[in-house]
Subunit: 210 residues, 2 copies
Amino acid sequence: MRPRGSTKGEQTRQAILGHALGLATTVGFEGLTIGRLAEELGMSKSGLIGHFRTKEALQVQVLEAASQRFVEEVIRPALKTPRGEPRLRALFAAFFTWESSPSLPGGCPFIAAASELDDRPGPVRDALVGILRDWFDLLAGTVRIAIDEGHFRADVDPAQFAHDVYGVMLAYHHGSRLFQDPHARARAEAAFEALLRNARREPATPLSPR
Amino acid sequence: MRPRGSTKGEQTRQAILGHALGLATTVGFEGLTIGRLAEELGMSKSGLIGHFRTKEALQVQVLEAASQRFVEEVIRPALKTPRGEPRLRALFAAFFTWESSPSLPGGCPFIAAASELDDRPGPVRDALVGILRDWFDLLAGTVRIAIDEGHFRADVDPAQFAHDVYGVMLAYHHGSRLFQDPHARARAEAAFEALLRNARREPATPLSPR
DNA sequence: CCTACCGATCGGTAGG
DNA sequence: CCTACCGATCGGTAGG
């Protein structure tokens, strides 16, 4: 077991991970080179990689550090809100705070990494999939609670709802970053409200024969 | 003007672009190196890059070639279907054929490239944004026709609808590739049907006082 | 944590 | 279209 206290080495390691996380959101996990990281942090390449042994281990630890921050900044605060729909709203809102954090210039690191890693099997991809699965399960679980609380209809599919919310977040990421669409946030809110409305009201009843 | 007939050089150029497109879907546009491309095609690096002068020009032309294929394989067939909702369904269905084409092992090249390029201003990104804008406009225009035809309510927002459909496609790409979710296609269909249902039926009327 | 170094690969050019 | 080559950078190691 490697000690993870507040030793000098551990502080340096955390500083590297924090900087690497922000860099990864803009240049990707492959673009996260040891040389560039070392230069920006004012250390030598060997001094830097000595904390992680390999670039792959660095990448995994960057994802783990990001996951810890996500839990602290997005999930934990939302869990303080009332169960069910209010909590779902809190999680959704917290995502935008996270996505626009100044320390994540390229936005959500998990979304930024997804397309890059989906074709590259290995520990880095596995770490990302695990993090996103946990996020999915949390969303679906929150929807299930909303059903139990009577906020949503009993026949709402929690996994489908989580998938739909995820799609809204992805579209926001693309809209705000690639297209630089000033209405991206409003579009995401409108899509989310439509999802809530569908989950709340009675099942569709055809208004006219087809 | 460079001739683009069926000369020997032009044939070689097209062969390079076709192979590069498939490769880019898995390794990304940065991972598309001249050396690897040359080796896989059995040519020298200089012989290959001579057709394009720079890697950036190659990347732009790969995107242009992909766009041409997208028009031929997705848009043109869908335009033969009846206007309005049927055409919207045809565009949606054709996207999945495109996304799972054997010559695009990593799926839709535009989605694959989006996260990679959103932080890198330049001609390659500009080309991608142009292609995706056209796609958006086509979707929104098709929705507008569906309103005119009376398939959808008059107060449906075409741009919002296009955004929502785009989100469903993004979620499908992630679900099927990163998560390898066997239900990804079914989830996408369910999400799309819900969008159509919302566009078809009367505006929400609260069923109970809040 | 450093300097010094390794082989491999990068995009691209010179010259033919 | 080729061979031969350029300087830069890659991840990583040896040795301290």
